[in-house]
């Protein structure tokens, strides 16, 4: 090999080696003592750095717990066994927080109408929304390009039929990243034990809504009238359920002419089947 090749390699290699050694020594000499509990707790956390706890990554949360006394129940993703171990390290008892889940409040555009325009841009919901609110006719509804799917670090949300996002309750830890990614704010984080969910966010009323979506809420008010507990009020042309009064009887879902209300995860009509 010519010297032209050897010299640069040797030079850079030599520098790298020398600096590596110097820095290693410096790291030892100038080592700062970190509380060993921080590392121990960090190992017990899921390590997804989702930010659901509100701290910068799992290491940030571990530091906050040990050094700043942050509550131990802020991580939605840690399993009960790990949570107990973290409690042991910190010397406290950590309470279970109520399991939450992400819910997508839109059943997807169920319509035979063609989209407003042929969208040929980047397959990202927020980007598509810049152009007249997205290619779908319903301006409140899901754009269907999967920004929420990309935002999820736990593989808990997927596009069913390539259009409507569906949350996998087994994997979702309600960190809120999908909710933040949705440009139409369709995803809400709510307690996982709710049986009745309104699957529409359209503030439109009557025929215009029916024309563009077969399962869109037309604000007829039947659910509100028929609810035996009067738990439903209509605000901005959408039913709002008071979950303190709701007894999960399913009447509202039965009487809804558009089948917009989801009861116990059972879809009244094969949503998305006709497209």
């Amino acid at each position: 090999m010519s010297t032209d090749l050897i010299y640069p390699i040797a030079l850079l290699g030599g520098f790298g080696l020398v600096f590596g050694v110097v820095l290693a020594i410096a790291a030892l000499v100038f080592a700062v003592e970190i509380d060993p509990r921080v590392e121990a707790i960090e190992k017990l956390l899921p390590g997804a750095n989702c930010g659901g706890c509100g701290f910068p990554g799992c290491s940030g949360y571990a530091e906050a717990m040990v050094l700043a006394g942050a509550s131990g129940s802020m991580c939605p993703a840690v399993k009960p066994a790990e949570r107990a171990k973290i409690g042991e390290i910190l010397g406290i008892v950590i309470e279970e927080s109520k399991p939450m889940i992400a819910v997508v409040r839109c059943a997807g555009c169920v319509t035979t109408e063609k989209s407003k325009y042929d969208y040929m841009g980047e397959q990202d919901c927020a980007t598509a929304v810049i152009l007249a609110g997205g290619p779908n006719h319903c301006r409140y509804g899901c754009v269907g390009m999967g920004s929420c799917v990309k935002a999820c670090r736990f593989d808990a949300i997927h596009l069913r039929d390539g259009q409507t996002p569906e949350v996998d309750p087994a994997k979702c830890i309600a960190c809120g990243k999908c909710a933040g990614a949705c440009p139409k704010s369709l995803i809400a984080i709510m307690p996982a034990d709710r049986d009745v969910i309104v699957m529409c966010s359209s503030r439109g009323k009557g025929k215009p809504v029916k024309d563009i979506c077969a399962v869109g809420c037309i604000a007829c008010g039947l659910c509100s009238k028929k609810c035996p507990e009067t738990a439903i009020t209509i605000e901005y042309n959408l039913p709002v359920i008071d979950y303190n009064k709701c007894t999960s009887c399913g009447t509202c879902a039965e009487v809804c002419p558009q089948k917009s209300i989801l009861f116990k995860g059972k879809k009244q009509v094969a949503i998305g089947a006709e497209k």
């Binding site: 520098f15 820095l23 410096a26 100038f30």
Partner: protein, 192 residues
């Protein structure tokens, strides 16, 4: 002799101020100039890194790269040296002054990519300075950098109490300020 020294140092501090005349090192200039204490701390860290880096780079260039006819390796070797130095300074600061370390935050490792450091090193070798000239130039450059930072921090601290339009608060007004400072420093042209 004294004349040359003065020309080099004063030139680097005022006439060719690295931040306000050469527009190098804008990142810490805008990022660390919120508080006077942080600005001084950052300035001292940069002075330290600049001194070590420019001397090491000069020595490497004239005793290693030029004799072996490897001037083309200048950029990458200089960056390697600067990166290692900044890592070293980071470890030292973390141990000795943890409060300063926390307040500098991400801007300390960003000294590595600070174009002022690489710019100074390359300027020194391009202008074919002797070692003494290099040291003087570096003193001037680093003092000038710190001075610009301190000036900006002093003004920005007072600006906190001013009634600035909402859209200009924070970085926008800082850039306007930087522009005004740069214009005022233009007055030094022709001084030498």
């Amino acid at each position: 002799m004294m004349n040359d020294i003065l020309v080099l140092v004063i030139g680097a501090i005022f006439v060719n101020n690295f931040v306000l005349a050469r527009f190098l090192g804008i990142c810490p200039f805008v990022g660390v100039s919120r508080k006077l204490g942080d600005a001084i701390g950052m300035g001292i860290a940069v002075i330290f890194v600049l001194m070590l880096a420019s001397v090491t780079c000069w020595l490497t260039y004239f005793y290693l790269l030029q004799p072996m006819k490897m001037e083309y390796m200048t950029t990458i070797v200089f960056i390697l040296i600067i990166a290692a130095l900044v890592q070293f300074v980071e470890s030292v600061i973390k141990k000795i002054a943890p409060a300063l370390y926390k307040s500098l935050g991400i801007y300390l490792p960003l000294i590595t990519t600070n174009c002022a450091v690489l710019g100074l090193a390359i300027l020194n070798v391009q202008s074919n300075y002797t070692l003494l000239q290099t040291v003087l130039h570096t003193i001037g450059a680093s003092v000038g950098f710190t001075m610009a930072l301190v000036l900006m921090a002093g003004i920005r601290e007072r600006l906190e109490y001013a009634d600035i339009p909402p859209s200009l608060r924070g970085v926008p007004i800082t850039f306007v300020l930087a522009g005004l400072l740069a214009i005022s420093f233009m007055g030094f042209i022709g001084m030498l």
